[in-house]
């Protein structure tokens, strides 16, 4: 498959680019932050996402979705990245929908239909400690009667405070599964955490939460595979977002290099800055390439895409990180002020890097896969 967008994907990108830049530019994030918005995103905007079909980009056409795949979702994530748009798109339309699609069955289909119509928000709860280490998970589900009892504590749950339904990863015997948990159920407490980037996250505590038998997405068997798929789609989507964050920070920086004068010259004339900008350009091109490759691989065979997904997240993290660091340094003092947007890109890049594994996590994962 050629590593360029198809004609249809290009059309989708143009539409997403125009729509998001128009409806939710960086000023939108600022407004939500400065008004201390309780939700942290705009429900009205999410309704418009649904009208555009974006909410259901992954949901099957039979459930009112667009029936598209990871590549198309990645196209939208990249535009979200360019505009730092706080949106349920990641947790609900991408990760949540992927988990449900992987699970299948009538219940999942009903939920996918509600996602597509913009009437259901999801949040996947995986992380527990400071870092993303799903292998070290301790949240425990125990069989109890016909159902389960859940205990544990989750952190960095994106959109956790706004979700209508939590998808909680937990150990079940010697495997893991993903459990649908009503955030209003007894024993569940959700605390919104205000994050550095003014995007949404929450901590979730589960204290003897009683669940029905059908709460386990993988029916106790396919849970690990469902979780892995959801995480991988999320990682690749996060890589796409980071590509957008990095590309936009870079575009603003090169524009600044062409307008700011120091010592009687445009600072873009200084060769030391030119070489750093040129190197950064290369890193961003590579991140774009591997992210598209990973999204295509997920579309083709999600169970085999793991290594490519790790590669994409690792490279996108590194490229975006370099992009925002160079952006702030090259902007000089004004880049340090809250009044200029560049700092917001740095904040978002940092948080998105931690999401579902940073550059080191994924480089380490690749090394382990290769046996060293």
């Amino acid at each position: 498959m050629a590593l360029v967008l198809t004609e249809e994907q290009n059309l989708l990108r143009d539409s997403a680019r125009g729509f998001i830049a128009d409806k939710a530019p960086v000023a939108h994030l600022r407004h939500l932050r400065d008004t201390r918005d309780a939700t942290g995103f705009s429900r009205d905007l999410w309704r418009e996402f649904a009208d555009m079909g974006f909410a259901g980009v992954i949901a099957p056409e039979a459930q009112g979705g667009l029936g598209l795949g990871p590549v198309e979702a990645g196209v939208i994530m990249e535009e979200i990245g360019r505009n730092l748009t706080p949106s349920p798109f990641f947790a609900t339309a991408l990760v949540g929908a992927s988990a449900l699609k992987a699970a299948g069955g009538p219940r999942a289909e009903a939920l996918l239909a509600k996602i597509a119509s913009g009437d259901l928000l999801l949040a996947l709860a995986v992380d527990e400690g400071a870092k993303h280490r799903p292998g070290a998970m301790t949240t425990q589900a125990q069989r109890s009667g016909n159902g389960f009892v859940l205990n544990g504590a989750k952190s960095f749950v994106v959109d956790g405070h706004a979700a209508d339904l939590l998808l909680v990863a937990a150990r079940l015997g010697d495997t893991v599964d993903v459990f649908m948990v009503d955030p209003k159920a007894a024993g569940v407490s959700v605390e919104r955490t205000i994050m550095t980037d003014a995007h949404n996250a929450a901590r979730v505590t589960l204290d003897n939460v009683a669940l029905d038998a059908d709460a386990a997405l993988g029916a106790g068997e396919r849970g690990a595979a469902i979780l892995e798929t959801a995480l991988n789609v999320g990682r690749a989507g996060s890589a796409a977002e980071l590509c957008g964050v990095g590309a936009e920070a870079f575009a603003r920086t090169t524009a600044y290099l062409k307008e700011r004068k120091q010592f009687g010259r445009l600072i873009g004339e200084f060769q030391a800055l030119q070489h750093r900008a040129a190197h950064l350009y290369c890193e961003l091109e590579i991140a774009q390439a591997v992210t598209l490759k990973a999204l295509q691989a997920l579309a083709a065979a999600p169970d085999k895409a793991g290594p490519l997904v790790s590669l994409a997240k690792a490279r996108a993290c590194a490229a975006a990180d370099l992009a925002v660091r160079e952006a702030v340094q090259m902007h000089g003092g004004i880049g340090m002020t809250d009044a200029v947007d560049i700092g917001l890109f740095m904040k978002r890049a940092r948080v998105a890097q931690e999401l579902f594994g940073d550059e080191r996590f994924h480089a380490d994962r690749l090394a382990r896969l290769r046996g060293y």
């Binding site: 070290a136 120091q262 340090m336």
Partner: protein, 394 residues
């Protein structure tokens, strides 16, 4: 050496007798408890007031300034002894002051006798708080391209323009300020160094919000501010020399930043946050990055020590501080990047008690200015290339 030993004993006895117990404890809330002095300063405690008063009476807030101007009149060796003894007893600094750190040295070197007598004793006593008016929005690294205008109106200068990055301008009583007094001259040759009261009509300030949150920095605006001619320091249009003198001073101060922080080592922070596996940090690639950062930090500390020894031995290149400034600030940025990686999602919480209102994240973001303020890293590298390595070109 006997004399110095005697001084040491005497100093210790005096400190023990005069430094209030409360002033010997580590800060609990450093920002609130530091003493900056000035007209509007509210002492945090009676002990803080007494401690400043007693130290100022001996001139020990500026121990190596001449006693004629209220300073302690101590020799370099005695000043070091005083610092050592204060550290040994855990005494807090009685006064933090841009007047002592920056303006004083410039006035001692370039000020008139009248200016010294007017300003230095008040600085020593913490009566007047100063701020520094150097940077301007359009100038940045090219500091000398400043545009704030001071017109000669006979008995006074009329100042119009804008400064930026003026630390604590909203709290300061007076400002020392670079202005352009000759627009025809080459850019380094039309600059003058002025002092004026911040309550002079036409001076306004506005705090700057940084990406890390609240900051001491302000924008400062001058709208037809009248400054008496007597407040010119040194020679008109020769202010750049004074500015350069102070910039080198500042660079020395900032160079040590790679060391600031103290407390737990990054390895410990990471081990606590992430945990160990087979005795090694459970995030193996981060472990390597931290190992290198810690080695680099220790090595840089030793290089700082050597820089001091080279200076004492008169073997240091005059531009050596550019190396320390560049390397120390880049190292500090790297340290905070790795700290954020070690703390992971926990370190990204921006509000709330768990993260102490995002302390780590704000500190991380704040470090991004290290390599911009006080001469960018790029400027330091230019200086090293040209002045130390003698490479050709503009």
């Amino acid at each position: 050496m006997d004399q110095l030993d005697a001084f040491r004993a005497e100093t210790r006895a005096w400190l023990e007798a005069n430094c209030p117990a409360e002033m010997r404890k580590p800060f609990e809330d450093e920002e609130a408890e530091r003493c900056w002095g000035g007209r509007n300063f509210k002492f945090f405690s009676e002990a803080q007031r007494v401690w400043l008063e007693r130290m100022a009476a001996r001139g020990w807030t500026a121990p190596d300034w001449p006693s004629d101007y209220g300073g302690g009149g101590l020799s370099k060796a005695q000043t070091i002894v005083l610092r050592q003894e204060m550290r040994a007893l855990g005494c807090r600094s009685p006064l933090d002051s841009f007047g002592i750190w920056m303006l004083g040295p410039a006035l001692l070197k370039y000020g008139s006798e009248a200016q010294k007598r007017e300003h230095l004793p008040r600085i020593v006593r913490g009566e007047i708080r100063w701020c520094q008016g150097y940077s301007e929005p359009g100038a940045g690294s090219d500091l000398a391209s400043l545009q704030t205008k001071a017109e000669d109106k006979g008995d006074h200068f009329l100042v119009n323009g804008q400064k930026v990055w003026t630390s604590y301008a909203d709290k300061a009583d007076w400002i020392f300020c670079l202005v352009r007094t000759d627009f025809q001259a080459k850019k380094h040759e039309g600059i003058s160094f002025l002092l004026f009261d911040m309550t002079t009509p036409g001076v306004t300030t506005r705090p700057i919000l940084l990406i890390s949150g609240k900051s001491p920095f302000c924008e400062t605006f001058f709208d037809d501010v009248k400054v008496p001619k007597d407040n010119l320091v040194g020679v008109e249009n020769k202010g750049w020399e004074i500015a350069k003198y102070l910039l080198t001073h500042e660079r020395d101060m900032i160079g040590g930043m790679g060391l600031v922080g103290g407390g737990r080592s990054l390895g410990e922070i990471a081990a606590q946050s992430i945990g160990l596996e087979n005795g090694m940090l459970a995030d193996p690639i981060l472990r390597g990055d931290i190992a290198r950062l810690e080695a680099d930090t220790w090595a840089f500390q030793i290089a700082m020590e050597r820089a001091g020894d080279l200076a004492k031995a008169k073997q240091a290149h005059p531009a050596y501080s550019s190396f320390l400034k560049y390397y120390g600030t880049e190292l500090n940025k790297r340290r905070h990047e790795l700290t954020m990686s070690a703390l992971g999602a926990d370190g990204l919480e921006w509000e709330g008690a768990r993260s102490q209102d995002g302390e780590a994240a704000r500190a991380w973001l704040r470090t991004k200015a290290n390599s911009i303020e006080g001469g960018t890293s790029e400027v330091q590298l230019n200086i090293i290339a040209k002045r130390i390595l003698d490479l050709p070109g503009a």
